[in-house]
């Protein structure tokens, strides 16, 4: 077995560290070492986007990155979206607009949408569809996800949070 290495990552604002095997994928570090199971493993082959997290401000598929690569980085997972007991406008939007059915893709959809809104706070429909193009949903047909993101963008523009 390869030598374990110390990994230090700021996760949802909290410093976390652990000794890990280099081959440990970031998604397994998040789910099994940190026990943050909001991030899902879907296809495990870089297609579906269920494992999407925001690493140093950019979305990545955490099934296709080793935890050791994220050493020294800041990581945001779906657990980090809620603040002070209140849902993030995106989470509220998914709830209000029925942006999920089975919910499996939702954490990844939320993280991709979050990164999109950070870059572009007034996305049109095409921007949204482009922004979530690396995330697959087998239930909604995407229609309501687009509406949920529009809802959040509207809410945030009205001086909503973040």
């Amino acid at each position: 077995m390869a030598k374990k290495q110390l990994v230090h990552i700021k996760v949802n604002g909290r410093d976390r560290e652990a000794m890990v095997e280099p081959r440990l994928l970031l998604v397994h570090f998040i789910r099994e070492v940190l026990e943050l199971t909001g991030t899902h493993v879907g296809c495990d082959t870089t297609h579906c986007g269920a494992c999407t997290v925001v690493l140093d401000g950019k979305t990545v598929k955490s099934c296709t990155l080793f935890a050791v690569q994220a050493d020294g980085s800041e990581l945001l997972t779906v657990e980090g979206l809620m603040k002070d007991g209140k849902l993030h406008p995106l989470q509220e939007g998914f709830k209000e607009e029925h942006g999920l059915q089975c919910g499996f893709c939702t954490p990844g959809m939320l993280m991709s949408s979050y990164a999109l809104l950070q870059k572009n706070n007034k996305p049109n429909e095409e921007d949204i569809r482009w922004g979530i193009s690396g995330n697959l949903c087998r239930c909604t047909g995407y229609q309501n996800i687009v509406k949920a993101v529009q809802y959040a963008a509207g809410k945030m523009a009205q001086g909503g949070t973040r």
Partner: protein
Amino acid sequence: MIPPAFEYLRPKTIPEAISFLKQYGDDAKILSGGQSLIPMMKFRLARPGYLVDINRISGLAYIKEEGDFLKIGGLTRESELEGSELIRSKYPIIFDTARVIADPQVRNLATVAGNLAHGDPANDHPATMLALGAQVVATGPKGERVIPIGQFFVTLFTTALEHDEIVTEIRIPTPPPRSGGAYFKLERKVGDFATAAVAAQLTLDDKGSCQKVGIGLTNVGPTPIEAKKAEDFVRGKKLDDANIQETAALAAGEAQPSADLRGSAEYKKGLVKELTKRALSQALLRAT
């Protein structure tokens, strides 16, 4: 899927990275964006004993014009090309290419250099770089060498790079006035490899004839293909409908596709013909 175990090395400089590659030889692989390598490791198609993570080497991520070249650093991500005003305005063919590679998350990590160095004929930048007449700068134990893109792709997953060389820069000759280019790809869904794709770059002379032309084909052979017969035919000619038709037919003839889940060989040749027409027409529009 858990990749096989490996030792993880994280050099801070290019010389340090090269010394690891020298020390561990064929058992070492460079980890750059990792968006092809990590999936291959999961499937046990690659089992490197050592991964040399070059992501922490500073000064390798840039997009700049210098001298007569556009220079793209060895660690420049696809998303940086997508977001670059210089690329969007002056090198639309590269913009076309970068934005159809995989998906946003993958493009945040994937590098242009990796897209070339992987040597996968299904990757998108090779055809575009062939059309642009790019040069690959490889840095190894003896220093830098410049490899013309036409000599870079040797065979399936094999490039002209030595195992202890790193792609540190890609150089693209700055297109003269009256130049334009475009990349057209057909994919089954976002994130899929091309069923086929065509890159075309051209420069017109003052009479509107095609002075310089480059045509590259994606995923229709064991390597990315430069459609030289098509280029030779159209060079010096006006790009009217008949000449575009003939050029496209020649390019289709140079494709060597094999049948797979994405379609039959005949279908893919037809696709190359159609995509060549579209790429040339768009390139012409952008050049005028």
